[in-house]
């Protein structure tokens, strides 16, 4: 985005997004074809997902870039195969190898046949795209490969796509999403792309996909994450629309009970003077913003990716939105806004406002909380707000 004035990005390069996908496939091994620094800097992605930081590289230096890197790449792939017998190897290019543009296609085709496993090649360089781009590129290749082995599934099973173990609170949020589907639809979640995927080499059912997380904006009709009473109701309706299935009758009762809870809260506290700042990718950020602004009447400032801006252009504004801004630059924006409460990363943890961990990186020690998603998540959010309101 060359017309952005921001100079500290929220999002990293495509490499980070590719890794977020890979770590959700058990046994898959990434190979950073570039300098070791690109690998070392992104070890945090598997660590965020409570996985071992296996991010090997070909550890290239300038001389390799000049002399050619194919031999090193072949040797590295063969070594990975010997050591780990992975179901999938994903070669990720960095700025150096993206720029030098060596042709790896034929080499990888030949190795795939020899080793009998899929080997993907994704350009993860920052000069090509950001994390969301990287995740989407990886997803596209994966789905293209699986389509070749696919069989249409006629059962009431679905897949959630666009999530990663590296997303903040991914386990709790996924449990919540699963519960929503199970309790209020006739469906069940068979798999999540990409979370704890096993046996990817076997025949694959083609399932209806619910775009979430890093993939929420790939379809024309988009629905942000289920936060709040309205947000949860809308998300379930979205699932119902995609799968052409009915929702359970109990959805109305749950919805109305949650609305009552919110209204009671609004009667007890003056919430429309509250200012909330959020730092997160758009599926999560827009979802949470909608709850605070539309259901509670708070003022919201959101730092997110471009899809947050584009969604609001079509569906109406829910937050004053800054694009792709992080760290100190974002903290200064928050400072000008004077929020009462910030939901974001450790970079924006500050004594000037209340803070809830909501988006990685979280490097402070934090107490375990419940998910903010769903109808149950509303009580958790209201408890958080109560804490802020009682101190102001």
């Amino acid at each position: 985005m060359n017309n952005l004035s921001r100079i500290e990005p929220l999002l990293g390069c495509g490499l980070g997004g590719v890794l977020k996908g890979i770590i959700g496939i058990n046994g898959a091994v990434p190979l950073i074809h570039g300098p070791m620094s690109c690998a070392s800097g992104h070890r945090i992605i598997p660590l965020f997902g409570s996985k071992e930081p296996l991010v090997p590289s070909t550890s290239l230096t300038e001389i390799d870039a000049v002399m050619g890197t194919k031999e090193k790449l072949i040797n590295a792939i063969e070594k990975i195969y010997t050591l780990y017998k992975p179901p999938l190897i994903v070669i990720i290019l960095t700025c150096a190898t993206s720029l030098t543009s060596e042709l790896f296609g034929p080499l990888l085709d030949s190795l795939q046949k020899e080793l009998n496993i899929p080997i993907f090649l994704v350009d993860g360089s920052g000069i090509t795209g950001d994390e969301i781009y990287g995740f989407r590129e990886f997803y596209k290749q994966f789905v293209q490969w699986k389509k070749t082995q696919g069989v249409k599934n006629k059962n009431s099973e679905i897949e959630l796509i666009g999530l990663s173990p590296a997303d903040y609170d991914s386990e709790k949020n996924l449990q919540l999403l699963n519960r929503l589907i199970t309790e209020f639809t006739s469906l069940s979640v068979k798999r999540v792309l990409f979370q704890e995927l096993d046996n990817i080499d076997s025949t694959w059912d083609l399932l209806p996909s619910i775009p979430c997380g890093h993939l929420w904006a790939i379809e024309k009709k988009q629905q942000p994450a289920p936060y709040g009473a309205d947000g949860t109701y809308a998300w379930l309706k979205y699932v119902s629309m995609i799968t052409k299935s009915n929702l359970s009758l109990s959805i109305e009762e749950s919805y109305l009970n949650t609305k009552k809870l919110i209204n009671k809260f609004k009667q007890s506290y003056s919430v429309n003077n509250l200012k909330i700042a959020i730092e997160a990718e758009s599926w999560w950020g827009v979802g949470l913003s909608k709850f605070f602004s539309e259901e509670l009447g708070c003022k919201v400032l959101l730092s997110s990716d471009i899809d947050a801006f584009l969604y609001q252009k079509v569906n109406g504004e829910v937050a004053n939105t800054i694009i792709d801004t992080g760290n100190v630059e974002l903290t200064l924006e928050f400072d000008s806004f004077s929020p009462d409460m910030v939901f974001g990363s450790s970079y924006v943890k500050n004594h000037n406002w209340g803070w809830e961990p909501f988006w990685h990186p979280i490097y402070h020690v934090v107490d375990n909380t419940q998910s903010f998603m769903g109808w149950r998540g509303v009580s958790v959010l209201l408890t958080v707000l109560e804490r802020v309101l009682s101190t102001t």
């Binding site: 985005m1 060359n2 952005l4 004035s5 100079i7 500290e8 990005p9 999002l11 990293g12 390069c13 495509g14 490499l15 980070g16 570039g34 300098p35 070791m36 620094s37 690109c38 690998a39 070392s40 800097g41 992104h42 070890r43 945090i44 071992e52 930081p53 296996l54 090997p56 590289s57 070909t58 550890s59 230096t61 300038e62 870039a65 031999e71 090193k72 790449l73 590295a76 990975i80 050591l83 780990y84 960095t94 700025c95 150096a96 993206s98 720029l99 030098t100 360089s125 920052g126 000069i127 090509t128 760290n327 100190v328 630059e329 903290t331 200064l332 970079y347 490097y363 402070h364 020690v365």
Partner: protein, 448 residues
């Protein structure tokens, strides 16, 4: 990268490495981290990454997240966004929108130096960044330098440390007349903290007891004026030998400020070696005698720990400063080091490691340089050790094989100087009793 696995004596004799095609590294950071860690440590310097958003995000995380225990507060690490077509066309200019962003930041921070950090794309495409430098200087009236160190420059952080320091000292080394003062600089600590229980605090306290004033700590928590004034000190004492390179050697040659402390201050003998080197450059032999008196107390304290740990088998890993240091401590504790790993080789490591390994009661049978996770796994699975001291990410293999683990890269109580022997000994005992130092992925659960 430089890799070796084999007998220590062969390594010390030949100092030869292979280039492995695959590195499942878990500990080493790159040259651009080395440079950023120097530059972000200096309060009035603003580094700006050219081109890659990934470098900006992962470098800031690594510096800030792992420095939280050392008073590292959030610092900006901005970048000038470039697309692939910008790189191919050589369009290295800040556009009007980015200028607005920089204006806000620079007006607030008021840096005295801006450092443009080249990225892989600019280095490989041989772009001349002087136009960008001139643009920034003209608009913001802040001295601006170019640092041509990026990820592709090397397989470890050393060149980043050296060139990062070089960019700072280049401002003053040729021109400035600085008042001479008694005392030394401590070089290599890259955090603002001066807490007593941190490694830097232990070193400053020991030097204080020996009546050696520490004028400046470079670069952690310093400002450009400190860099300048440090050229008046009597010696540059290494807190970490990884910083030895062209910059410190040039200062030694051209400003007559000798380097001391090639042996890092760990263990009784290691710390005595460190102090002896300092005493020699300061030409004050009495310092050595004073140090021996201080050491006596610790030698008494360590006896009961030695009795408990004597003969225990250990795996130890570390970088060019930490590995010889920890081996020195193992020698003091009478522990048998069965296996060891050096994350990356620095030219100073050879002599120091050789000296320290000879002090060990026995072992190591094997030493790896440039270890990978799968090699760590192999060693852990062989169950040859009673405890393990190493980098934070070695915890995963240790947990799998239930090996008591003491992290060395994220810790609270100092591992350095004479007191470090006692602290480390106590930690090993705790670990052997079942204490979990790594219950969190990012923070040590060590309690002071």
């Amino acid at each position: 990268m430089q890799w070796y696995s084999g007998k220590p004596c062969k390594l010390m004799n030949e100092w030869k490495f292979k280039d492995s095609p695959l590195w499942a590294d878990y500990q080493v950071l790159g040259p651009n981290f080395g440079a950023v860690s120097v530059l972000l440590s200096v309060t009035d310097v603003l580094p700006i990454i050219i081109g890659s958003r990934g470098c900006a995000t992962h470098l800031r995380f690594t510096k800030l997240a792992w420095g939280i225990d050392y008073d590292m507060r959030t610092r900006p690490l901005p970048f000038i966004e470039l697309s692939k077509s910008d790189v191919v066309n050589g369009t290295y200019k800040i556009n009007e929108f980015q200028l607005l962003g920089f204006e806000k930041l620079i007006n607030r921070l008021k840096p005295n130096l801006i450092v443009l950090m080249a990225n892989d794309a600019s280095i490989l495409s041989c772009i001349d960044l002087s136009g960008l430098k001139a643009q920034i200087e003209e608009i913001f009236h802040v001295r601006t330098s170019i640092l041509e160190v990026s990820a592709i420059s090397s397989s470890n952080q050393w060149v980043g440390y050296d060139k990062g320091l070089g960019i700072l000292f280049d401002l003053y080394i040729n021109n400035e007349e600085v008042q001479k003062k008694e005392g030394v600089n401590l070089v290599g600590w890259k955090w603002p903290s001066r807490e007593r229980n941190h490694d830097i605090g232990a070193c400053i306290d020991l030097l204080d007891k020996l009546n050696i004033p520490v004028n400046y700590v470079i670069p952690g928590g310093s400002c450009l004026n400190d860099i300048r004034e440090s050229l008046g000190s009597q010696a540059n004492v290494l807190w970490c030998p990884s910083y030895i390179g062209d910059t410190l050697e040039r200062i030694e040659r051209e400003r007559n400020i000798p380097i001391a402390g090639f042996t890092p201050p760990y263990g009784f003998d290691g710390t005595m070696d460190w102090i002896t080197e300092i005493a020699n450059v300061l030409e004050k032999p009495s310092i050595i005698e004073d140090a021996k008196l201080i050491l006596l107390d610790y030698q008494e304290q360590v006896v009961c720990i030695q009795n408990e740990l004597r003969g225990k088998r250990a795996f130890v890993s570390g970088g060019p400063g930490r590995l010889p240091g920890l081996l020195s401590i193992m020698a003091d504790l009478k522990v048998n080091v069965v296996n060891a790993a050096l994350y990356w080789p620095h030219h100073s490591s050879r002599k120091t490691l050789d000296k320290v390994i000879r002090r060990l009661p026995s072992g190591p049978k094997n030493i790896i340089v440039g270890p990978s996770l799968y090699e760590i796994e192999d060693i852990a699975s062989s169950k040859q050790v009673d405890f393990w001291m190493g980098g934070f990410q070695e915890q995963h293999s240790c947990k799998r094989y239930e090996i008591p683990f003491i992290p060395t890269t994220v810790h609270l109580a100092s591992h350095q100087c004479f007191e470090g022997v006692i602290n480390v000994g106590q930690k090993i005992k705790k670990a052997l009793e079942g204490y979990d130092f790594v219950a969190s992925s990012f923070r040590s659960t060590e309690k002071l």
